[in-house]
């Protein structure tokens, strides 16, 4: 009874969160309707993005006391209400941390209008960035965290948490000593956290936790063996397909965690080198995962930031991914041709053991998970018609499974990878810090100048730079940092409004993971398990096999993106 009660409580909590995300915010909207303003205007940065939180004051010339003040809203707008006598001269001062101060003197006509009670709208103000000590602090902390995560010196979550805490500590404790050490306050930092991403990942974790315990991965792998009849050249693409589809619908780290041990066992049965199956599998996971919004963490980040739906990913990326996948299969058959010829004589003892284990352990759970999964897919595809956020769909699916299957709630809570969720929150804060101090603006400006107004050049630069950088730096923080840059390029490069550059980032950052062992998390878990089975994957080995795959798959995906957006005139979301 107690267990049931706790289960219902968790379900109610998830449902509550779903409703909170989906219900309109009428209260906030009502509050937004202020009194009639007299002086209004908007403040933007050099990239044309609205500047929120700038202090706008109005004072009479040569006098320091302000006669009205306001703070800019998320859309960059401000409204100043004047209640006193209007002086002969008026100056609007705009002040915001990490920007140069701006001043606008109202002309005589504007002052006259104010005196007659008529509101005036000032021209848009562009604030210029300046490099402050806070800029250096945030940049150094971000680069250090990125390096620590990439080299694995600290746990990802701990590294990101230390970085975020350092930014807060310097902002709060350093601020009284030097004003320009301030990066942002706690509320300011939370504005950068994308809760859609957090809840989508959390909901999917619960769904995956139910699915992974049903034995479906082991059964599918064994069926792949059965269908192929032990012929390695056929087994290879079937296992790649199973891994790819699972990675597109579930999390690709979990997919490889479950596929790697069973694949090693199949290879041992066939007396062949497991790496001939594992390497193509993990590469397929990195490539095919890109085809859906929920397939990779980077796509979840890109989808939420760029407002790109599940459907948009299917329409604009899936054909390109299939093309790249086909290329990857052909390449894998060629790269492992000797190993594929060597296997094929199964050991009866091991085969019997494998068949014994490759069973669906919880058929009832699998059936229910299948029904809920199908419903979730329908909602992911058609939900955008009613503005249903993917995070809400994931939470509804997770809730439905919890209520229907009634699993051990303690196990389900353990299955939610809280460390990953904390990692994402800390990462958003860190990326927010470099965005706040202007590092992202400088990078965006530099790339903008590099590509000029050339869309093709921008597409190639984003795709290939992301791919190459993803081989040496962790691709999740890299993608998170690149999103505002891509947002800026989307605004300034003619033709990029189709959001094509977001798809280029998606392809580059995820498929780029095939270029090196540390390029993606699935690579690391696959290598970890393979090493514990006596088949180590060295950095050089991965580079030799993976980099050609990167070149082939990204070339094919780039070809598709060029065709889709430049020839077929695709729109991205």
């Amino acid at each position: 009874m107690n267990r049931l009660l706790r289960l219902w409580l968790l379900a109610a909590l998830l449902l509550g969160i779903s409703l909170a995300l989906v219900l309109p915010r009428t209260g906030a909207q009502a509050k937004g309707q202020a009194l009639s303003p007299l002086v209004t205007g908007s403040v933007y940065d050099q990239q044309g993005q609205p500047v929120e939180g700038a202090l706008v004051t109005l004072s009479a010339a040569h006098e320091s006391d302000s006669i009205a003040q306001a703070t800019t809203q998320p859309d960059g707008r401000y409204s100043l209400s004047l209640s006193e006598t209007i002086p002969d001269t008026l100056i609007v001062h705009i002040k915001r941390a990490h920007f140069e101060d701006a001043h606008i003197e109202l002309d005589a006509a504007a002052i006259q209008s104010l005196r007659t009670g008529q509101p005036i709208v000032l021209p848009d103000t562009t604030l210029l960035r300046h490099i402050s000590p806070a800029f250096l602090v945030a940049t150094l902390v971000f680069v250090a965290v990125l390096a620590i995560i990439t080299t694995g010196k600290l746990h990802n979550t701990l590294a990101a948490l230390v970085g975020a805490t350092l930014v807060f500590a310097i902002s709060y404790l350093g601020h009284p000593l030097r004003e320009d050490l301030f990066v942002f306050d706690f509320d300011g930092a939370l504005r950068y956290v994308d809760w859609n991403v957090i809840f989508l990942i959390m909901g999917m974790m619960i769904v995956i936790a139910v699915v992974e315990r049903t034995g479906i991965f082991q059964w599918l792998a064994f069926m792949a063996y059965r269908v192929s009849g032990g012929r390695m050249w056929l087994l290879l693409p079937i296992l790649m397909l199973v891994t790819g589809v699972a990675s597109a619908l579930l999390d690709n780290v979990t997919t490889m965690l479950l596929m790697t041990p069973i694949t090693i066992q199949i290879a041992l049965v066939l007396g062949t080198n497991p790496l001939a199956l594992l390497m193509p599998e993990v590469m397929a996971s990195n490539v095919v995962g890109v085809s859906t919004l929920i397939g990779t963490p980077t796509n979840i980040l890109i989808g939420s930031y760029g407002d790109i739906s599940f459907n948009d990913f299917l329409r604009n990326l899936t054909p390109g991914v299939l093309l790249a996948f086909l290329g990857l299969i052909l390449y894998s058959e060629f790269a492992y041709r000797r190993e594929l010829r060597a296997g094929g004589n199964p050991s009866p003892l091991l085969l019997e053991k494998l068949a014994e284990r490759a069973r669906i352990t919880k058929p009832e759970h699998l059936k229910k998970a299948g029904v809920v999964g199908a419903a979730m897919l329908i909602l992911f595809v058609f939900g955008e018609q009613v503005h249903l956020l993917p995070a809400v769909t994931a939470l509804m699916g997770a809730t439905a499974l919890l209520v229907w299957i009634k699993p051990d709630i303690e196990e389900m809570i353990e299955a939610v990878d809280w460390t990953t969720l904390v990692f994402f929150i800390a990462l958003f804060i860190l990326v927010g810090a470099i965005q706040e101090v202007g590092l992202i603006s400088f990078i965006a400006d530099a790339i903008g100048q590099l590509v000029g107004g050339n869309l093709v050049l921008a597409m190639l630069a984003v795709t290939w730079l992301s791919a190459v950088l993803s081989t040496v730096v962790a691709n999740i923080p890299f993608t998170a940092a690149m999103l505002p840059v891509i947002g800026y390029l989307t605004a300034i490069v003619p033709g990029a409004h189709s959001k094509v550059l977001f798809y280029c980032l998606s392809v580059g950052s995820a498929m780029g993971g095939n270029g090196s062992l540390i390029g993606s998390s699935p690579n690391i878990v696959t290598a970890g398990i393979a090493e514990r089975a006596g088949y180590p994957i060295s950095y050089v080995y991965f580079l030799k096999k993976g980099f050609p795959a990167l070149v082939i798959t990204i070339s094919l995906a780039t070809l598709w993106l060029l065709l889709r957006f430049l020839v077929l005139g695709g729109t991205g979301g």
Partner: protein, 147 residues
């Protein structure tokens, strides 16, 4: 003192270790026990919380690897047992030696990626001394092998 403990990891590098253990079992007539230790340190790099599920999968994979070693021993007329343990490799080897009152331990010298561990060259000698001190078993290293 009875029994031989042979800790293996699987793969081609384990074959000399398995072969030496089988030869020793044939010579001494002592029962042979293969040991596979599930160690999930690599998960710390990716921060996965799926320890329970992956632990079960690795356990099954370990049993499978032990089966292949047992099959090799059987082919040479030696009946071998297999044991899968979870945790620190060194502690588990010593634990099994104590349980079985092992007379011999056969170790390989695997090339382990990442940070130093007991199988790193300079630490391996210390580890073998520890085994001999704590269990009384004699330690042999298989030449040109991995664990």
């Amino acid at each position: 003192m009875s029994g031989i403990v042979c800790a293996i990891r699987g793969g081609p590098a384990s074959q000399p270790t398995i072969a030496q253990a089988v030869t020793l079992a044939q010579k001494t007539g002592l029962p042979l026990h293969f040991l596979y230790v599930v160690n999930l340190d690599f998960l710390s790099r990716v921060g996965s919380g799926r320890v329970h599920t992956i632990s079960e999968e690795m356990h099954q994979m370990g049993e499978f690897i032990l089966l292949t070693a047992q099959a090799t021993a059987t082919a040479q007329g030696v009946t071998a047992q297999g044991a899968v343990r979870h945790g620190n490799v060194g502690d588990e080897i010593i634990g099994l030696c104590r349980e079985l009152d092992a007379a011999y331990v056969i170790l390989g010298q695997p090339q382990v990626q990442g940070k130093a561990n007991i199988f790193t060259k300079n630490l391996l000698k210390k580890f073998s001394e520890r085994i001999e001190r704590e269990t009384g078993a004699k330690v042999f290293f298989a030449e040109g092998s991995g664990m």
